[in-house]
Symmetry: C2
Subunit: 143 residues, 2 copies
């Protein structure tokens, strides 16, 4: 399995807003062209970002704009906004361990703390990285 590409697409969208805002209207069609993904998918992801308060869309012809300082948004904010992982958590636990077996009866209590802890470390790492910490866009001066 892999974490849904909604996550990297959402970062791509935010970076486009950062780069183009005020210059070009950042519409879903425009984003679709930069990202290489269907415009409807883009709109669905934007509606997640909107619900999370990361961006705004003013109907009309202006496209998406930021609704808080983009640089301070963390990868965790984006990850949560687009529901990159199921609400049940990072690990999928098998559903029917047998309570009549001494191992089956205890497997949850044996593993749950550790799995939660792993997930916590993973999420803390996502929280520690803000958009401003990503490498900046390099310009090829020969162009």
């Amino acid at each position: 399995m892999q974490i849904s590409s909604r996550f990297t697409i959402a970062v791509h969208i935010l970076e486009c807003i950062k780069y183009f805002e005020g210059k070009i209207p950042v519409t879903s069609d425009f984003l679709s062209g930069s990202i290489g993904v269907n415009a409807v998918i883009i709109r669905r992801i934007i509606s997640h970002l909107k619900a999370a308060g990361l961006v705004k869309v003013e109907r009309g012809r202006n496209g998406v704009i930021s609704s808080r300082p983009l640089d301070e948004i963390t990868l965790y904010d984006v990850y949560v906004a687009v529901e990159a992982v199921s609400s049940e958590g990072l690990f999928h636990f098998h559903g029917n361990p047998n309570p009549k077996c001494p191992v089956g009866k205890n497997i949850h209590s044996m593993l749950d703390d550790s799995l939660r802890e792993i997930q916590r470390v993973f999420e803390e790492k996502l929280k520690s990285i803000k958009l401003k910490d990503l490498k900046s866009i390099t310009v090829d001066i020969t162009e």
Copy 2:
């Protein structure tokens, strides 16, 4: 998305071996009963564990046995053995960013280092937990 239940099932299998080895033959049918998952699924996971050198299966009537000290096996060993995550890594990167767009051209170089670092932290955490670190099986003395 979620990390495949193959991972928690594999841990369950190893805990069963730890608990029952030498007392009851740990067969795929027996494991299927404890885990609540079809025996063929169990056999497939066992064949992964075998390939990774964590367990042995001697044909005949003895079921699965350990092939190295179970307590020293880390969650990372199990995670890698069962291919809980695609070989491309934890994050699914969208496939066709547009090289003609300054953002599309740079999105990989902007994100890849950070994603690798997050994955590294996640895997280090898995490596830090051995089977012996899991909570032990509790026995209800009223039984």
